[in-house]
Amino acid sequence: MNSIALFIDGLTKYNFLQTALITAILVGIMSGIVGSFIILRGMSLMGDAISHAVLPGVAVAYMLGINLLLGASIFGLLAAMLIGFVTMKSQLKNDTAIGIVFSSFFALGFILISMAESATNLHHILFGNVLAVSDQDLITTAIVLVVVVLFVVLFYKELLITSFDNTFARAYGLKTQVLHYGLMMILTLVTVTALQTVGIILIVAMLITPAATAYLLTNKMSSMIMIAATFSVFASVIGLYFSFTFNWASGPAIVLTAAVFFLLAFLFSPKQGIFIKKRAAN
């Protein structure tokens, strides 16, 4: 309990910890929202791919001194389009196309980053360092959250119908491809933002784990998004506490906390929990 008091005391004293906490909360909300759509559309692997594929964009942005979001977005979208292109123009299945494209992008990014080593820290990009977030980063994060919320609110019914019944959406003339790439764009923005808190490697966990936890707990898409965002925020805050107290990397601390929530839901969810199901069966 003493460590919790220390954490709260730290929050009142240190500006960097306040910034970290707010960033973690904002990133938690946006990854819960976007993650819900990622798992409902069966795109978990795609989420993983885009998050890795932004690495060369990050490197190029560092080298040229341009905005990180811009560089990363270009490479994230490029990867999404390449994956679509390879899937469409060959007999290969989508997961194979994803595997080829994202590993190549990641490898390229790795080499570029090591060339730009002086300006950046590879370890922090890969695993996150939320305690080093600047006020400028915080503002960018807040802007991205606003964009994500606006996107989901404005296109809620289009996102629902394309996730649930894409053929129906196409049959009434909805431009499902435009929406898909729009969502990929949003996913890229979230990825670059979440890079600060959990790092590139573990972003997919923030997208999938809280959303999967929520999926086990509700039967309504809007509730699922709310619950996912809530779990994601709790995981971020609790993870940050562990990171601060035990000097763990923030990414793994946050992701493990989210995994514990998932485990609890997996075992005890009234809807799908394996213990509850067993009891009902007996």
Binding site: F164, T167, G173, T218, N219, M221
Partner: protein
């Protein structure tokens, strides 16, 4: 009237059919029959632009269908959907209002009332809060028919609506199709069960990698056409038994 002219669809360079021409008239229930893999669903998808076609045109009231997709309700084969999606019956039916809601608009009270009325029409009113995964095959098919009701389209296309459903659901759906017919809508049903062809369909199209025959059911559903599209054995069973019961 829907007119399909000279449509060719090929997958991986092997044509499913070439230069296929069909028309569908309003105020009628038109059945499409043909053996497995004959191109029935592909024809529908080509007509709707869901599959790219190598050539041909599809028009509704002499205007390209691609520009009037909102006037067509398409009830896909059931198997294609993820039934674990977190959505209940009422919200599923409400998606039928999406085509006619503008961008940024979400269903309101009026849309909800329409959805509840449609669920009453298909006798599922008390199921509106059920998850779709908790329904039987027949109930689920009726949910999608309810969605088509809410869509209030001029043309309704159903792909294998009677596969794997109970007799009562089939009768309920058939009653809705007849209501649509009375309202002057164009109804197109892809079907593979030949037994009810003469009782269900006003017009009939027989397909086997192209049109074998089309026209009024009594003119088209003949031993000769069924032999051409399916097999001699099948037509012997269908028509000889039919004659036997006459005697």
């Amino acid at each position: 009237m829907i007119k399909v002219r000279d449509m060719t669809v090929a997958y991986d360079s092997a044509p499913v059919f070439t230069n296929l021409s069909i028309q569908f008239e309003p105020g009628k229930i038109t059945g499409i029959i043909g053996p497995n893999g004959a191109g029935k669903s592909t024809m529908i998808k080509g007509l709707l632009g869901l599959t790219s076609k190598q050539s041909g045109t599809a028009t509704l009231a002499d205007q390209p269908i691609a520009k009037q997709l909102k006037l067509i309700a398409y009830v896909e084969q059931r198997a294609a959907l993820d039934l674990t999606f977190p959505i209940n019956v009422l919200d599923t039916v409400l998606t039928g209002t999406y085509p006619n809601l503008g961008l940024f608009k979400v269903p309101g009270k009026k849309e909800e009332e329409a959805a509840l009325a449609a669920l009453t029409d298909v006798k599922l009113a008390e199921f509106n809060h059920r998850q779709i995964s908790e329904l039987s095959g027949g109930q689920l098919q009726r949910v999608f028919v309810a969605r088509a009701i809410v869509q209030d389209a001029d043309v309704i296309i159903l792909d294998e609506p009677f596969v794997g459903i109970d007799m009562k659901s089939e009768a309920d759906i058939m009653a809705i199709l007849k209501k649509w017919r009375a309202a002057g809508k164009t109804i197109i049903v892809v079907n593979h069960d030949l037994n009810k062809v003469t009782t269900y369909f006003d017009d009939l199209v027989i397909i086997n990698h192209g049109v074998v025959a089309q026209g009024q059911t009594q003119d088209v559903f003949t031993k000769k056409n069924i032999t051409t599209a399916f097999s001699g054995d099948l037509s012997n069973i269908l028509f000889d038994e039919g004659e036997a019961t006459h005697e």
